[in-house]
Protein backbone atom coordinates (compact mmCIF):
# COMPACT_ATOMS: atom_id res chain seq x y z
CA UNK A 1 0.00 0.00 0.00
CA UNK A 2 2.86 2.38 0.80
CA UNK A 3 4.09 2.00 -2.79
CA UNK A 4 0.71 3.20 -4.09
CA UNK A 5 0.68 6.12 -1.65
CA UNK A 6 4.24 7.04 -2.66
CA UNK A 7 3.26 6.93 -6.35
CA UNK A 8 0.31 9.29 -5.83
CA UNK A 9 2.31 11.61 -3.56
CA UNK A 10 5.11 11.91 -6.12
CA UNK A 11 2.52 12.48 -8.86
CA UNK A 12 0.89 15.31 -6.90
CA UNK A 13 4.18 16.92 -5.82
CA UNK A 14 5.64 16.93 -9.34
CA UNK A 15 2.41 17.82 -11.15
CA UNK A 16 3.69 21.35 -11.87
CA UNK A 17 7.36 20.84 -10.95
CA UNK A 18 7.95 18.51 -13.90
CA UNK A 19 7.15 21.41 -16.27
CA UNK A 20 9.58 23.64 -14.37
CA UNK A 21 12.23 20.92 -14.77
CA UNK A 22 11.62 20.87 -18.52
CA UNK A 23 11.68 24.68 -18.79
CA UNK A 24 14.94 24.87 -16.84
CA UNK A 25 16.68 22.27 -19.02
CA UNK A 26 15.24 23.86 -22.19
CA UNK A 27 16.65 27.28 -21.19
CA UNK A 28 20.03 25.67 -20.46
CA UNK A 29 20.09 24.01 -23.89
CA UNK A 30 19.04 27.25 -25.66
CA UNK A 31 21.70 29.24 -23.74
CA UNK A 32 24.29 26.67 -24.69
CA UNK A 33 23.33 26.81 -28.38
CA UNK A 34 23.26 30.62 -28.44
CA UNK A 35 26.70 30.75 -26.82
CA UNK A 36 28.19 28.91 -29.82
CA UNK A 37 28.12 32.26 -31.63
CA UNK A 38 28.97 34.44 -28.61
CA UNK A 39 31.85 36.17 -30.45
CA UNK A 40 29.18 38.29 -32.14
CA UNK A 41 28.19 41.04 -29.69
CA UNK A 42 24.42 40.84 -30.27
CA UNK A 43 24.35 37.06 -29.86
CA UNK A 44 26.48 37.36 -26.73
CA UNK A 45 23.88 39.74 -25.20
CA UNK A 46 21.04 37.36 -26.09
CA UNK A 47 23.07 34.52 -24.55
CA UNK A 48 23.46 36.53 -21.33
CA UNK A 49 19.71 37.17 -21.23
CA UNK A 50 19.00 33.45 -21.60
CA UNK A 51 21.61 32.63 -18.96
CA UNK A 52 19.60 34.93 -16.66
CA UNK A 53 16.42 33.04 -17.55
CA UNK A 54 18.17 29.76 -16.74
CA UNK A 55 19.36 30.95 -13.33
CA UNK A 56 15.81 32.21 -12.62
CA UNK A 57 14.45 28.81 -13.65
CA UNK A 58 16.82 27.12 -11.16
CA UNK A 59 15.73 29.47 -8.38
CA UNK A 60 12.12 28.82 -9.38
CA UNK A 61 12.64 25.04 -9.05
CA UNK A 62 14.22 25.36 -5.60
CA UNK A 63 11.44 27.61 -4.27
CA UNK A 64 8.64 25.60 -5.87
CA UNK A 65 10.04 22.30 -4.63
CA UNK A 66 9.43 23.47 -1.06
CA UNK A 67 6.06 25.03 -1.88
CA UNK A 68 4.71 21.91 -3.61
CA UNK A 69 5.99 19.42 -1.04
CA UNK A 70 4.45 21.43 1.80
CA UNK A 71 1.26 22.14 -0.15
CA UNK A 72 0.63 18.43 -0.76
CA UNK A 73 1.34 17.67 2.91
CA UNK A 74 -1.02 20.41 4.11
CA UNK A 75 -3.84 19.79 1.62
CA UNK A 76 -3.77 16.00 1.87
CA UNK A 77 -3.78 16.00 5.66
CA UNK A 78 -5.74 19.11 6.67
CA UNK A 79 -7.75 20.58 3.79
CA UNK A 80 -10.64 19.26 1.64
CA UNK A 81 -8.56 16.42 0.16
CA UNK A 82 -7.90 15.15 3.70
CA UNK A 83 -11.49 13.83 3.75
CA UNK A 84 -10.28 11.22 1.29
CA UNK A 85 -6.76 10.73 2.70
CA UNK A 86 -7.84 9.98 6.27
CA UNK A 87 -10.61 7.63 5.21
CA UNK A 88 -8.35 5.44 3.07
CA UNK A 89 -7.79 1.97 4.52
CA UNK A 90 -4.19 2.85 5.35
CA UNK A 91 -2.54 3.46 8.72
CA UNK A 92 -1.52 6.99 9.74
CA UNK A 93 2.07 5.75 9.94
CA UNK A 94 2.07 4.74 6.28
CA UNK A 95 0.44 8.01 5.22
CA UNK A 96 3.13 9.92 7.08
CA UNK A 97 6.10 7.84 5.91
CA UNK A 98 4.95 8.08 2.29
CA UNK A 99 4.83 11.90 2.47
CA UNK A 100 8.35 12.01 4.01
CA UNK A 101 9.84 9.66 1.41
CA UNK A 102 8.09 11.42 -1.48
CA UNK A 103 9.28 14.81 -0.20
CA UNK A 104 12.84 13.51 0.02
CA UNK A 105 12.68 12.03 -3.49
CA UNK A 106 11.36 15.29 -4.93
CA UNK A 107 14.08 17.34 -3.19
CA UNK A 108 16.68 14.97 -4.60
CA UNK A 109 15.24 15.13 -8.13
CA UNK A 110 15.11 18.95 -7.99
CA UNK A 111 18.77 19.14 -6.89
CA UNK A 112 19.75 16.75 -9.69
CA UNK A 113 17.83 18.82 -12.28
CA UNK A 114 19.47 22.04 -11.03
CA UNK A 115 22.96 20.50 -11.24
CA UNK A 116 22.16 19.07 -14.68
CA UNK A 117 20.91 22.47 -15.88
CA UNK A 118 24.12 24.18 -14.72
CA UNK A 119 26.19 21.43 -16.31
CA UNK A 120 24.42 21.77 -19.69
CA UNK A 121 24.72 25.55 -19.67
CA UNK A 122 28.26 25.97 -18.35
CA UNK A 123 30.28 22.85 -19.13
CA UNK A 124 33.56 23.49 -20.93
CA UNK A 125 37.15 22.45 -20.34
CA UNK A 126 38.04 25.96 -19.11
CA UNK A 127 35.15 26.09 -16.63
CA UNK A 128 36.00 22.63 -15.31
CA UNK A 129 39.67 23.64 -14.85
CA UNK A 130 38.60 26.78 -12.94
CA UNK A 131 36.24 24.77 -10.72
CA UNK A 132 38.92 22.14 -10.11
CA UNK A 133 41.50 24.74 -9.12
CA UNK A 134 38.99 26.43 -6.76
CA UNK A 135 38.19 23.09 -5.14
CA UNK A 136 41.86 22.14 -4.85
CA UNK A 137 42.45 25.42 -2.97
CA UNK A 138 39.53 24.60 -0.69
CA UNK A 139 40.65 21.01 0.02
CA UNK A 140 44.33 21.83 0.53
CA UNK A 141 45.05 20.88 4.11
CA UNK A 142 41.83 18.91 4.50
CA UNK A 143 43.54 15.68 3.56
CA UNK A 144 40.81 14.52 1.19
CA UNK A 145 40.24 14.27 -2.56
CA UNK A 146 38.22 16.85 -4.52
CA UNK A 147 35.57 14.21 -5.25
CA UNK A 148 35.12 13.41 -1.56
CA UNK A 149 34.90 17.12 -0.75
CA UNK A 150 32.16 17.69 -3.35
CA UNK A 151 30.29 14.59 -2.16
CA UNK A 152 30.40 15.82 1.47
CA UNK A 153 29.18 19.28 0.43
CA UNK A 154 26.24 17.78 -1.50
CA UNK A 155 25.36 15.54 1.48
CA UNK A 156 25.45 18.54 3.82
CA UNK A 157 23.19 20.61 1.51
CA UNK A 158 20.71 17.71 1.21
CA UNK A 159 20.84 17.11 4.98
CA UNK A 160 20.11 20.79 5.61
CA UNK A 161 17.18 20.85 3.16
CA UNK A 162 15.81 17.62 4.70
CA UNK A 163 16.10 19.07 8.20
CA UNK A 164 14.23 22.21 7.13
CA UNK A 165 11.55 20.09 5.47
CA UNK A 166 11.07 18.01 8.62
CA UNK A 167 10.76 21.24 10.65
CA UNK A 168 8.15 22.57 8.23
CA UNK A 169 6.16 19.30 8.41
CA UNK A 170 6.26 19.40 12.20
CA UNK A 171 5.19 23.06 12.21
CA UNK A 172 2.19 22.24 9.99
CA UNK A 173 1.11 19.30 12.19
CA UNK A 174 1.64 21.30 15.38
CA UNK A 175 -0.30 24.31 14.05
CA UNK A 176 -3.21 22.06 13.10
CA UNK A 177 -3.59 20.86 16.68
CA UNK A 178 -5.09 24.32 17.35
CA UNK A 179 -8.57 25.40 16.35
CA UNK A 180 -7.75 28.95 15.27
CA UNK A 181 -5.09 30.89 13.29
CA UNK A 182 -3.50 27.73 11.99
CA UNK A 183 -1.63 29.47 9.13
CA UNK A 184 -0.03 32.03 11.40
CA UNK A 185 0.81 29.41 14.03
CA UNK A 186 2.39 27.18 11.37
CA UNK A 187 4.78 29.96 10.33
CA UNK A 188 5.49 30.82 13.99
CA UNK A 189 6.30 27.20 14.89
CA UNK A 190 8.58 26.82 11.84
CA UNK A 191 10.51 29.95 12.86
CA UNK A 192 10.71 28.64 16.43
CA UNK A 193 12.02 25.21 15.31
CA UNK A 194 14.50 26.74 12.84
CA UNK A 195 15.95 29.33 15.20
CA UNK A 196 15.85 26.84 18.07
CA UNK A 197 18.01 24.40 16.12
CA UNK A 198 20.31 27.24 14.98
CA UNK A 199 20.88 28.30 18.60
CA UNK A 200 21.53 24.69 19.64
CA UNK A 201 24.03 24.34 16.75
CA UNK A 202 25.81 27.50 17.85
CA UNK A 203 26.02 26.36 21.48
CA UNK A 204 27.38 22.94 20.42
CA UNK A 205 29.93 24.60 18.09
CA UNK A 206 31.10 26.91 20.88
CA UNK A 207 31.48 23.95 23.26
CA UNK A 208 33.35 21.84 20.67
CA UNK A 209 35.72 24.67 19.72
CA UNK A 210 36.25 25.63 23.37
CA UNK A 211 37.20 22.04 24.23
CA UNK A 212 39.61 22.03 21.26
CA UNK A 213 41.13 25.27 22.57
CA UNK A 214 40.50 27.17 19.34
CA UNK A 215 37.34 29.16 20.14
CA UNK A 216 38.74 32.26 18.42
CA UNK A 217 38.61 30.38 15.09
CA UNK A 218 34.81 30.55 15.14
CA UNK A 219 34.88 34.31 14.63
CA UNK A 220 38.09 34.50 12.62
CA UNK A 221 37.89 35.85 9.05
CA UNK A 222 39.79 32.85 7.65
CA UNK A 223 39.23 29.45 9.22
CA UNK A 224 42.00 26.88 9.44
CA UNK A 225 41.61 23.58 7.60
CA UNK A 226 41.12 21.60 10.81
CA UNK A 227 38.41 24.00 12.07
CA UNK A 228 36.66 23.84 8.69
CA UNK A 229 36.72 20.05 8.95
CA UNK A 230 35.17 20.29 12.46
CA UNK A 231 32.36 22.50 11.10
CA UNK A 232 31.67 19.99 8.28
CA UNK A 233 31.56 17.09 10.75
CA UNK A 234 29.20 19.06 13.02
CA UNK A 235 26.90 19.72 10.06
CA UNK A 236 27.03 16.07 9.00
CA UNK A 237 26.04 14.96 12.51
CA UNK A 238 23.63 17.69 13.61
CA UNK A 239 21.35 18.01 10.54
CA UNK A 240 20.41 14.30 10.54
CA UNK A 241 19.87 14.51 14.33
CA UNK A 242 17.48 17.49 13.87
CA UNK A 243 15.68 15.64 11.07
CA UNK A 244 15.33 12.54 13.24
CA UNK A 245 14.01 14.50 16.24
CA UNK A 246 11.48 16.44 14.12
CA UNK A 247 10.29 13.36 12.24
CA UNK A 248 9.70 11.58 15.57
CA UNK A 249 7.90 14.60 17.05
CA UNK A 250 5.82 15.11 13.90
CA UNK A 251 4.89 11.42 13.70
CA UNK A 252 3.91 11.38 17.37
CA UNK A 253 1.69 14.47 16.98
CA UNK A 254 0.17 13.15 13.75
CA UNK A 255 -0.59 9.71 15.19
CA UNK A 256 -2.51 11.34 18.06
CA UNK A 257 -5.14 12.20 15.45
CA UNK A 258 -6.15 15.10 13.26
CA UNK A 259 -8.82 17.76 13.57
CA UNK A 260 -9.84 18.61 10.04
CA UNK A 261 -11.86 21.79 9.41
Amino acid sequence: MIRKLFYYDIKKMTKILKWFYLISIAFAVITRLINIGKEIQAIHIIGQVFAGFTYSAIANILINTFIHILRVFLYDFYRDESYLTHTLPVSKNKLFISKCLAGLAVVLSSVIVCVLTLFIMLYSKDVMLTVKSLISVAVSGLNMSSGAFIAILIVIILAQITAMMSMAYTAIVKANTYNRNRGFKGVAWFIAYYFGSTIVTLIIAVIVFAIGGNLSELVAEVMSASSFMTVMILALVLYPVYTFIHVLLCKWLFNKGVNVD
Binding site: T87, P89, V90
Partner: protein, 230 residues
Protein backbone atom coordinates in the same frame (compact mmCIF):
# COMPACT_ATOMS: atom_id res chain seq x y z
CA UNK B 1 -25.78 -7.10 14.21
CA UNK B 2 -24.43 -3.64 15.12
CA UNK B 3 -22.22 -2.48 12.30
CA UNK B 4 -21.70 0.85 14.05
CA UNK B 5 -21.78 1.47 17.78
CA UNK B 6 -21.25 4.99 19.07
CA UNK B 7 -20.99 5.24 22.87
CA UNK B 8 -20.97 8.41 24.94
CA UNK B 9 -19.17 10.68 22.49
CA UNK B 10 -17.96 14.06 23.70
CA UNK B 11 -16.17 16.79 21.79
CA UNK B 12 -15.23 20.34 22.69
CA UNK B 13 -13.78 23.21 20.68
CA UNK B 14 -12.14 26.00 22.69
CA UNK B 15 -13.76 24.72 25.91
CA UNK B 16 -17.22 24.78 24.29
CA UNK B 17 -18.91 21.38 24.30
CA UNK B 18 -20.31 20.70 20.82
CA UNK B 19 -21.03 16.99 21.25
CA UNK B 20 -22.47 16.00 24.57
CA UNK B 21 -22.70 12.27 25.24
CA UNK B 22 -23.99 10.99 21.89
CA UNK B 23 -24.77 7.25 21.77
CA UNK B 24 -26.47 5.20 19.09
CA UNK B 25 -26.12 2.05 17.01
CA UNK B 26 -26.63 1.26 13.34
CA UNK B 27 -27.55 -2.28 12.35
CA UNK B 28 -26.96 -4.15 9.10
CA UNK B 29 -29.71 -3.73 6.53
CA UNK B 30 -30.96 -0.45 8.03
CA UNK B 31 -30.93 3.09 6.70
CA UNK B 32 -30.61 5.47 9.63
CA UNK B 33 -31.13 9.21 9.43
CA UNK B 34 -29.15 11.52 11.71
CA UNK B 35 -31.39 14.53 11.55
CA UNK B 36 -30.79 17.97 12.93
CA UNK B 37 -30.76 21.62 12.03
CA UNK B 38 -27.59 23.39 10.86
CA UNK B 39 -24.94 23.51 13.59
CA UNK B 40 -26.58 20.79 15.71
CA UNK B 41 -23.47 18.56 15.62
CA UNK B 42 -24.33 16.09 12.83
CA UNK B 43 -21.15 16.62 10.83
CA UNK B 44 -18.98 16.64 13.96
CA UNK B 45 -20.31 13.19 14.93
CA UNK B 46 -19.77 11.92 11.37
CA UNK B 47 -16.23 13.32 11.32
CA UNK B 48 -15.40 11.59 14.60
CA UNK B 49 -16.71 8.29 13.21
CA UNK B 50 -14.48 8.79 10.16
CA UNK B 51 -11.29 9.64 12.09
CA UNK B 52 -11.32 13.25 10.87
CA UNK B 53 -11.68 14.62 14.40
CA UNK B 54 -10.17 13.36 17.61
CA UNK B 55 -12.59 12.05 20.24
CA UNK B 56 -12.41 13.76 23.66
CA UNK B 57 -14.37 11.00 25.40
CA UNK B 58 -16.35 7.97 24.32
CA UNK B 59 -15.88 5.21 21.81
CA UNK B 60 -16.69 4.35 18.21
CA UNK B 61 -16.81 0.69 17.23
CA UNK B 62 -17.21 -0.34 13.60
CA UNK B 63 -18.05 -4.01 13.11
CA UNK B 64 -17.00 -4.48 16.76
CA UNK B 65 -13.55 -2.91 16.30
CA UNK B 66 -12.00 0.46 17.12
CA UNK B 67 -11.32 2.78 14.16
CA UNK B 68 -8.34 1.49 12.18
CA UNK B 69 -7.26 0.82 8.60
CA UNK B 70 -9.29 -2.40 8.85
CA UNK B 71 -12.53 -0.62 9.73
CA UNK B 72 -11.91 2.07 7.11
CA UNK B 73 -11.83 -0.68 4.48
CA UNK B 74 -15.53 -1.41 5.14
CA UNK B 75 -16.81 2.16 5.44
CA UNK B 76 -17.74 4.21 2.38
CA UNK B 77 -17.98 7.88 3.30
CA UNK B 78 -19.43 10.78 1.36
CA UNK B 79 -18.50 14.08 3.02
CA UNK B 80 -20.48 17.29 2.65
CA UNK B 81 -17.73 18.81 0.52
CA UNK B 82 -15.82 17.96 -2.65
CA UNK B 83 -12.65 16.11 -1.78
CA UNK B 84 -11.51 15.09 -5.25
CA UNK B 85 -8.43 16.75 -6.72
CA UNK B 86 -9.95 18.93 -9.45
CA UNK B 87 -6.94 18.53 -11.75
CA UNK B 88 -7.87 14.86 -12.15
CA UNK B 89 -9.99 13.26 -14.84
CA UNK B 90 -12.86 10.90 -14.03
CA UNK B 91 -10.60 7.95 -15.03
CA UNK B 92 -7.95 9.11 -12.55
CA UNK B 93 -10.55 9.10 -9.76
CA UNK B 94 -11.72 5.60 -10.70
CA UNK B 95 -8.13 4.34 -10.78
CA UNK B 96 -7.48 5.91 -7.37
CA UNK B 97 -10.52 4.20 -5.82
CA UNK B 98 -9.63 0.87 -7.51
CA UNK B 99 -6.08 1.11 -6.16
CA UNK B 100 -7.06 1.69 -2.55
CA UNK B 101 -10.44 0.03 -2.03
CA UNK B 102 -10.61 -3.73 -2.54
CA UNK B 103 -14.43 -3.53 -2.56
CA UNK B 104 -14.63 -0.94 -5.35
CA UNK B 105 -16.68 -2.15 -8.32
CA UNK B 106 -15.19 -0.45 -11.36
CA UNK B 107 -17.78 -1.84 -13.78
CA UNK B 108 -20.61 -0.48 -11.66
CA UNK B 109 -18.92 2.94 -11.48
CA UNK B 110 -18.47 3.08 -15.25
CA UNK B 111 -22.12 2.10 -15.79
CA UNK B 112 -23.32 4.84 -13.47
CA UNK B 113 -21.06 7.37 -15.16
CA UNK B 114 -22.41 6.31 -18.55
CA UNK B 115 -25.92 7.05 -17.27
CA UNK B 116 -24.71 10.57 -16.56
CA UNK B 117 -23.29 10.85 -20.09
CA UNK B 118 -19.73 11.05 -18.83
CA UNK B 119 -16.66 9.28 -20.11
CA UNK B 120 -13.32 8.80 -18.37
CA UNK B 121 -11.54 11.66 -20.06
CA UNK B 122 -13.79 14.36 -18.63
CA UNK B 123 -11.75 16.63 -16.38
CA UNK B 124 -13.18 17.55 -12.97
CA UNK B 125 -11.90 21.12 -13.33
CA UNK B 126 -14.41 21.70 -16.15
CA UNK B 127 -17.36 20.38 -14.18
CA UNK B 128 -19.93 22.17 -12.07
CA UNK B 129 -20.05 21.62 -8.31
CA UNK B 130 -23.24 19.57 -8.72
CA UNK B 131 -21.62 17.29 -11.29
CA UNK B 132 -18.56 16.77 -9.06
CA UNK B 133 -20.89 15.82 -6.21
CA UNK B 134 -22.63 13.29 -8.44
CA UNK B 135 -19.27 11.74 -9.38
CA UNK B 136 -18.29 11.58 -5.73
CA UNK B 137 -21.59 9.87 -4.94
CA UNK B 138 -21.02 7.37 -7.77
CA UNK B 139 -17.55 6.54 -6.44
CA UNK B 140 -18.83 6.10 -2.89
CA UNK B 141 -21.85 4.02 -3.91
CA UNK B 142 -19.76 1.84 -6.26
CA UNK B 143 -18.05 0.29 -3.26
CA UNK B 144 -19.49 -2.88 -1.76
CA UNK B 145 -19.09 -1.45 1.72
CA UNK B 146 -20.67 -2.71 4.93
CA UNK B 147 -21.42 0.80 6.11
CA UNK B 148 -22.21 3.85 3.98
CA UNK B 149 -22.01 7.22 5.67
CA UNK B 150 -23.50 10.07 3.67
CA UNK B 151 -23.13 13.55 5.13
CA UNK B 152 -25.71 16.00 3.74
CA UNK B 153 -25.99 14.33 0.32
CA UNK B 154 -28.88 16.64 -0.61
CA UNK B 155 -27.39 19.90 0.63
CA UNK B 156 -27.26 22.69 -1.94
CA UNK B 157 -28.46 20.65 -4.91
CA UNK B 158 -31.42 21.22 -7.22
CA UNK B 159 -34.55 18.97 -7.03
CA UNK B 160 -33.61 16.90 -10.10
CA UNK B 161 -30.17 16.21 -8.65
CA UNK B 162 -31.85 15.26 -5.38
CA UNK B 163 -33.93 12.70 -7.27
CA UNK B 164 -30.81 11.41 -8.99
CA UNK B 165 -28.99 11.05 -5.66
CA UNK B 166 -31.94 9.29 -4.06
CA UNK B 167 -32.23 6.90 -7.01
CA UNK B 168 -28.50 6.14 -6.96
CA UNK B 169 -28.53 5.49 -3.22
CA UNK B 170 -31.50 3.10 -3.37
CA UNK B 171 -30.26 1.31 -6.49
CA UNK B 172 -26.86 0.57 -5.03
CA UNK B 173 -27.63 -0.10 -1.38
CA UNK B 174 -27.39 -3.81 -0.58
CA UNK B 175 -29.40 -5.64 2.10
CA UNK B 176 -26.26 -6.70 3.93
CA UNK B 177 -25.10 -3.10 4.24
CA UNK B 178 -26.10 -0.29 6.56
CA UNK B 179 -26.37 3.41 5.90
CA UNK B 180 -26.15 6.51 8.05
CA UNK B 181 -27.44 9.68 6.37
CA UNK B 182 -27.30 13.13 7.87
CA UNK B 183 -29.53 15.88 6.58
CA UNK B 184 -31.62 18.84 7.58
CA UNK B 185 -33.85 18.34 4.51
CA UNK B 186 -35.97 15.70 6.20
CA UNK B 187 -38.98 15.70 3.87
CA UNK B 188 -36.73 14.58 0.99
CA UNK B 189 -35.25 11.63 2.79
CA UNK B 190 -37.82 10.40 5.28
CA UNK B 191 -39.46 7.87 2.95
CA UNK B 192 -36.26 5.78 2.78
CA UNK B 193 -35.38 5.84 6.50
CA UNK B 194 -35.80 2.80 8.74
CA UNK B 195 -34.64 4.58 11.88
CA UNK B 196 -34.15 8.19 12.89
CA UNK B 197 -31.94 10.02 15.35
CA UNK B 198 -32.79 13.64 16.15
CA UNK B 199 -29.77 15.63 17.25
CA UNK B 200 -29.86 19.09 18.78
CA UNK B 201 -27.13 21.04 20.56
CA UNK B 202 -24.82 18.02 20.40
CA UNK B 203 -27.32 15.65 22.07
CA UNK B 204 -29.59 12.94 20.72
CA UNK B 205 -33.03 14.13 21.76
CA UNK B 206 -35.15 11.44 20.14
CA UNK B 207 -34.47 8.12 18.46
CA UNK B 208 -36.40 5.15 17.21
CA UNK B 209 -37.96 3.34 14.29
CA UNK B 210 -39.31 5.78 11.69
CA UNK B 211 -42.51 3.77 11.26
CA UNK B 212 -43.12 3.51 15.01
CA UNK B 213 -42.55 7.22 15.57
CA UNK B 214 -44.98 8.11 12.79
CA UNK B 215 -47.63 5.88 14.37
CA UNK B 216 -47.01 7.06 17.94
CA UNK B 217 -46.98 10.77 17.14
CA UNK B 218 -49.43 10.75 14.24
CA UNK B 219 -47.11 12.94 12.22
CA UNK B 220 -44.54 12.58 9.48
CA UNK B 221 -40.88 12.49 10.54
CA UNK B 222 -40.57 16.02 9.18
CA UNK B 223 -43.55 17.05 11.30
CA UNK B 224 -42.13 15.42 14.43
CA UNK B 225 -38.78 17.09 13.79
CA UNK B 226 -40.37 20.52 13.46
CA UNK B 227 -42.22 19.96 16.74
CA UNK B 228 -39.26 18.55 18.71
CA UNK B 229 -36.50 20.80 17.44
CA UNK B 230 -37.24 24.44 17.97
Amino acid sequence: MDILKVSNLYKSFDNKKVINGVSFTVQSGKIVGLLGKNGSGKTTVIKMINDLLTIDEGEVLINGEKISEKTKAIVSYLPERTYLDSSQTVSDCIKYFSDFYADFDKTKALELLKDLGLDGENSLSKMSKGMKEKIQLILVMSRRAKLYILDEPFGGVDPSTRDYIMKTILKNFGDDSAMLITTHLIADVEKILDEVLFIDNGKIILQGSAEQLREEKGLSIDGIFRREVK
